[in-house]
Structures are given as structure tokens and as C-alpha cells.
């Protein structure tokens, strides 16, 4: 089986869908000729031509809006927003139209489009290149939000996202674009949207994470094991729909839950998950759930970024607090 990093896995999925479905177009700023600033779409224009894989003018709003028009007219656009922070100019189109077209027209017009955006911090970048706003996006009814953490998952999820009849935000954790490689089948396969994955089985604590934080989480789980703590690790993979059942199964076993994500703590994904766990598994909880998140602050510039981004030690610290509750 070939070994691919995240960039290659995503490219592999795009390559498959372009060859498989003539309705698929791939476009974005610098996505065509150059192959994207991260080279994710590299080589695709050469293979499939400029009609199918192309560069757009520098206008996020029309990239989103025209994408919707294409989807309404029967195509399957896969558009790229160059950096997460640049989705903001396109938010109006995303929220007021992309997310609503199906409901507004009672299914006559739908938006089967995929919006790829590299997201997340830890890369010492300028402002707005390190955003993690999946909670904001997941809060919009009508959208699906998916965040792979590994190359294997990324390929399977992206194929599913493109084939999905609903608009999907495919958020790519750019920090780990090239950080590690994984065996990824050359042939196509699908991983269903809306399903989390238990990646490490454990007994005492449940840790939930996603995206680039999965790597941090794995390291923290190992640190915890050295302290005699058996931690079960779940990769959420899908923010909306959120796989509550997998988390509940784990919480009913361990009684103790911690959730790790980059984005700001308040009004975030962890808060939502805890609300659901309280609603459905309160009686199994032995400790107050803990959130290990970014602060309610603007992402600091590089010299301060390390304070913001959760590290394995910080996760371990929180896991120990969780373990020692209520002392």
C-alpha cells in the first residue's frame, strides 16, 4: 500500500473524483496552474485541463456564490478557500445561501458542493492564517463540517464529502499537512460523514480530539500511560453531524471526559459535546468534564503562539485533574 501524507491523500481523493465524475470541478485562488499554495491540487490541472481545474480571481464571495450557482445548475464544485481566515468574506454567501438553498426551495435547488479550507494554528504564521472556527461553521444549520486528522481518513472522508448531497466544509489541518505519512490505498474508498473513531482503547478516562490536535492527544495518552492512567482516545472526525453515540459509549465506560481542540473554549465544540453528554449520560459521570482548548483570545502572533496551542503536557495536566476529581 502506498504511503501518503495528508496533502497527497487529499490530492488522491480529488484525482479520483475528477476522473470518476465529470460534474466535479476544482477551483480556488492559485489552485489551478500552481496547484495551490500548499500544492494540494498540484498536477490536477495538467491532467484534467483548465476547464475542470482552474484559478479564480481574488474574490472569496463569488468563489462561494458562483460555486453555489454551479451546484444549483447540476455540477459538483469543489472550491478552495485559501486559508481559513479568508472564509470571512464568503460568510454571507455561505450562511445566507449555501446553507439554506435546500430548505428555502424545499429541495428543488440543492448545494452539493465541497468547500476545502486549510485551518488551524501551530505554523507561526501571520494573522488569519491560523484560525480554528469550526464551531462557528457547525453552528450554521444546513452545513456539514468534517475534519480529518490522518491521511487515510482524509481521503475516505473527502470522497464522501464530494459525493454528499449537502454542502460540506472539509477542514484540512494544515499543521500536519506533511508531518507524517500513512498507508493509504491507491484505490478509492469511503469513510462515512458523521462517524467518530475510537483510536486508542482505554479504561479510566475518555479523551476526545480532532484535527491537528490528534497528534497532541496521542502524545498525551502516552504520557498518561506512564503515570498509570489508561486513557481512551476518540477522533471526532465530524463536527456536524457529531457522533454523540461513540463518545457516550466511552463515557459510560470511564465516567470521565476531557475534550481537546484548538478553537476558543467558549461556545466551542467541547461545550456542545459536554451538553449532549450531560443530557444523555449524566448518571455515568463521576467528574465534571474538562475542556482543553484555545483561549477566548485572538490567536497570538508567532512569539506567543505556543501559549495558545495546547501541548501534550497541558493535556496531561488536565487529564490528571480529571482523574483526581473531586479531590
Amino acid at each position: 500500500m502506498p504511503a501518503m501524507n495528508l496533502v497527497q491523500a487529499i490530492q488522491s481523493a480529488l484525482d479520483f473524483k475528477l476522473s470518476d465524475d465529470p460534474r466535479v470541478l476544482v477551483f480556488g485562488e492559485d489552485a489551478g496552474h500552481e496547484g495551490g499554495v500548499f500544492r494540494v491540487t498540484q498536477g490536477l490541472q495538467a491532467t484534467y485541463g483548465e476547464r475542470r481545474v482552474f484559478d479564480t480571481p481574488l474574490s472569496e464571495s463569488v468563489i462561494m456564490g458562483a460555486g453555489l450557482g454551479m451546484a444549483v445548475a447540476g455540477l459538483r464544485p469543489v472550491l478552495e478557500i485559501q486559508f481559513c481566515g479568508f472564509i470571512y468574506p464568503a460568510m454571507n454567501q455561505l450562511v445566507t445561501h449555501v446553507a439554506r438553498m435546500r430548505n428555502r426551495s424545499r429541495g428543488v435547488f440543492t448545494a452539493p458542493m465541497t468547500i476545502r479550507l486549510p485551518y488551524g494554528g501551530g505554523i507561526q504564521a501571520l494573522e488569519l492564517h491560523s484560525e480554528s472556527m469550526e464551531a462557528m461553521l457547525a453552528h450554521i444549520p444546513g452545513l456539514k463540517v468534517v475534519i480529518p486528522s490522518t491521511p487515510y481518513d482524509a481521503k475516505g472522508l473527502l470522497i464522501s464529502a464530494i459525493e454528499c448531497e449537502d454542502p460540506v466544509l472539509f477542514m484540512e489541518p494544515k499543521k500536519v499537512y506533511r508531518a507524517f505519512r500513512q498507508e493509504v490505498p491507491a484505490e478509492p474508498y469511503r469513510i462515512p460523514l458523521g462517524k467518530a473513531s475510537r483510536v486508542v482503547e482505554g479504561q479510566r478516562l475518555t479523551l476526545v480530539a480532532y484535527g491537528a490536535m490528534m497528534r497532541v492527544a496521542r502524545q498525551a495518552v502516552e504520557l498518561a500511560a506512564k503515570e498509570g492512567l489508561s486513557v481512551e482516545l476518540i477522533d471526532l472526525r465530524s463536527i456536524y453531524p457529531l457522533d454523540t453515540e461513540t463518545v457516550l459509549d466511552s463515557v459510560r465506560k470511564t465516567g470521565r471526559l476531557a475534550i481537546l481542540h484548538e478553537g476558543p473554549m467558549s461556545f466551542g465544540v467541547a461545550a456542545e459535546l459536554i451538553a449532549r453528554v450531560n443530557e444523555e449520560a449524566l448518571l455515568w459521570l463521576e467528574a465534571a468534564p474538562r475542556r482543553i482548548c484555545g483561549f477566548d483570545t485572538i490567536m497570538p502572533l508567532p512569539m506567543g503562539e505556543h501559549h495558545y496551542m495546547p501541548t501534550p503536557e497541558r493535556v496531561l495536566y488536565e487529564l490528571l485533574q480529571l482523574h483526581n476529581f473531586p479531590e
Partner: protein
């Protein structure tokens, strides 16, 4: 035609003057005889439905809605230039155009009573739903046009928006995209002189809206928006150009004779004198005069046409009166192709509440 009326030189296409006389010019109208009569009927129906809608709103049978009065020529004339498979991307003041394309008055009333089903036109599938965020639909039109071009189709897209929309970023982004990719889109700007209370002169420092087309590298012309013949001819030419070459911008110079919506009071920001000055330019008057001159129309037919339109509108309202609540299941059914577990849970919880309420 598209390059014969240079907006930078203040040129404006007119074919039918206020008195109902044909204007001598290089270009001939494409509407005449029974086709012209049919067009006029559409305008009358649109006018009557619009007037009655205001009444129905005051009777609280429907909610606040925009008023179309004065813009019938722009809506009807442009829509008549489309072929069967062409797309209409509306803003919200094109009732005449929707009716031309096969949408029903019933749906119009149903939408403003508050049901999404009012946007579902069984007989007119290629009309996008009403667009609330101003100008945002312009980018959709560009995208649809892009898809048509990609698939090698012959259809075109007619995108309507107002003078206010030309200040929105999406106007700029959509026209720019369409020109770059040569999308078959006719961008039709209804310059009715007002964006709610802001007069056109304060909306932009450009002398005309049509000249903005130059910046995007596409043809642009200004036409008399109250002139059915000019609207129809210009749109027809634009449709041909769009299909063959690329997008066009038409500025239809018209006037919003009524308030912005049924909840607006224009007397706050414009004078009665100004409104009165536009009354003789009413788009219906000149067509009626022309048709009468040509012996194709008279007061009896006028009366009958209006009565029929009124009756149809009343009937449609009565049908809509019978419809009440959106069923609970519909609230949840149309968010996604499937129904995620969380949504099902929320629905079940709500239905449990309803049962409890029922039993009390």
C-alpha cells in the same frame, strides 16, 4: 445595439415614448401584434396582483412585502426575451417576470404569507427563490452561467438587481467573474432611483450604472426602463450576445412608483411633486395607448383584463387563506438530504412537548 448607446455619452435607448408613440431609431422593436397584446396583459396582471397584494397585507392575510408598481415593463419585457430553458435569478421586485415565466400569483401570495412552498414553481423550474441579501444573487447567476458554459449549453441567465445592489461587493465580484469566464449572463439592473430611502445620486458617484460595465470588460447600456419595447429589444440583444460571447450589463432607468415595501413611507424621503412627475411615464399607459392606436385594444378589453386579473388574484388569495401551519416535520425535513441523529432527537423532543400540550 449593445454598443450603440454609450453610457459615457449619456445615451439611453428608447423605442416607445410616454405618449405611446414609436421612436424613430436604428433598431426595430421585436414585440408587436398579438405578442405585444400578450405582453401588455402580463403587465396588467402584474399591476393588479401587486395592488391587491398591498390590500391583502393591510388585511393581514399576508405579511410585509415589496411593491412592484412602476417596474412592470422592466420585469415583463426582460423575461419575455428568455427561452424556455433559460434561468431567471431574481431579487424581489420582479413579480411581472415571474408571472411571465409561469410562476403563479398563488405562489407569490403563499411566499409572503410565510411558506417556503411559495418558492416552488412547478411550472417554472428555473427561477431561483427570492434573494434577501442585496446583490448576493449576482454571484449565483455567474455560477449558473459558468456551469452552462462548462457543459456547452445554449441557455442564458437573466439576473435582476437594483441600483443599491451595484454598491455591494457581490456586484463587483459577480460581474468580474462572469467576464473573466465569459459566462452567458445578462445582468439587468433595475435603477428605480431609490434604495429604500437613498436616492440614486447618493448611491454612487458614477454618472450612470451602465458605465460600470466598462470596468469589467463587458458591454453596458442604459435603456428607458419604463419602455416595454426597449426593454425587450435590449434584453433580446443581450441574450444573444451572452450566449455567443459573454456577459452584458443593462441599466433599466425606471421609477419605484410605490413604497419600498408595504411597511415603508416614502413621503419621508421624497416629494409628492417628484412622484407626480413620474406618473405620466407609467409603463402601462404607453403600451395601452399604442395598442389602442393599433386597434388591438380598447377600454372594454381593458376592463375585462383587469377584472379577470382581480378575480384570479382574489381566488389565489382565498386558496392561500385556507393554508395555515407549516407542519412540524417540514421544519426538520429540509436541512439536509438525510436527517442527522441530533435533528431527529430535537424533533422527537419537540413532538413530545406538543403531545403534552395537547393533553393538558
Amino acid at each position: 445595439m449593445l454598443t450603440s448607446f454609450d453610457p459615457l455619452k449619456g445615451k439611453r435607448l428608447q423605442m416607445l415614448d410616454e405618449a405611446g408613440g414609436l421612436v424613430k431609431g436604428k433598431f426595430q422593436p421585436c414585440l408587436e401584434g398579438e405578442a405585444l397584446v400578450a405582453a401588455y396583459r402580463h403587465m396588467v396582471r402584474a399591476r393588479v396582483a401587486d395592488e391587491k397584494s398591498l390590500l391583502f397585507q393591510r388585511q393581514k392575510r399576508i405579511h410585509t412585502l415589496p411593491v412592484n408598481r412602476g417596474q412592470e415593463a422592466a420585469a415583463v419585457g426582460s423575461a419575455l426575451a428568455l427561452g424556455k430553458d433559460d434561468w431567471l435569478v431574481q431579487s424581489y421586485r420582479e413579480l411581472g417576470g415571474l408571472l411571465v415565466r409561469g410562476a403563479s400569483i398563488r405562489n407569490h401570495l403563499l411566499y409572503f404569507k410565510g411558506s417556503e412552498w411559495g418558492s416552488v414553481h412547478a411550472d417554472a423550474p428555473r427561477i431561483l427563490p427570492l434573494s434577501v441579501p442585496i446583490g448576493s444573487q449576482i454571484t449565483h447567476a455567474a455560477g449558473i452561467g459558468h456551469a452552462i458554459r462548462y457543459q456547452g449549453g445554449q441557455e442564458v441567465v437573466l439576473a435582476h438587481f437594483g441600483d443599491g445592489a451595484t454598491s455591494q461587493g457581490d456586484f463587483h465580484e459577480g460581474l468580474n467573474w462572469a467576464a473573466v469566464f465569459k459566462c452567458p449572463v445578462v445582468f439587468f439592473c433595475n435603477n428605480n432611483q431609490y434604495a429604500i430611502s437613498l436616492a440614486r445620486g447618493k448611491q454612487t458617484a458614477s454618472a450612470t450604472l451602465a458605465q460600470k460595465a466598462i470596468a469589467y470588460g463587458m458591454p453596458g447600456l442604459q435603456i428607458d426602463g419604463n419602455d416595454l419595447l426597449a426593454v425587450h429589444a435590449a434584453t433580446s440583444a443581450a441574450v444573444e450576445h451572452a450566449r455567443a460571447e459573454g456577459p452584458v450589463l443593462i441599466e433599466a432607468f425606471t421609477y419605484r412608483m410605490g413604497p419600498h415595501t408595504t411597511a415603508d413611507d416614502p413621503s419621508i424621503y421624497r416629494s409628492k411633486e417628484e412622484e407626480d412627475a413620474w406618473m405620466p411615464k407609467d409603463p402601462l399607459i404607453r403600451v395601452q395607448l399604442l395598442l389602442e392606436k393599433q386597434g388591438l385594444w380598447d377600454s372594454t378589453r381593458e376592463e375585462a383584463c383587469r377584472t379577470e386579473a382581480a378575480a384570479d388574484t382574489d381566488q389565489a388569495m382565498r386558496e392561500v387563506d385556507e393554508l395555515h401551519e407549516t407542519p412540524v416535520d417540514e421544519i426538520f425535513a429540509w436541512q439536509y438530504a438525510d436527517r442527522p441523529a441530533e435533528l431527529r432527537r430535537q424533533q422527537a423532543d419537540y413532538e413530545a412537548f406538543l403531545k403534552w400540550k395537547e393533553a393538558r
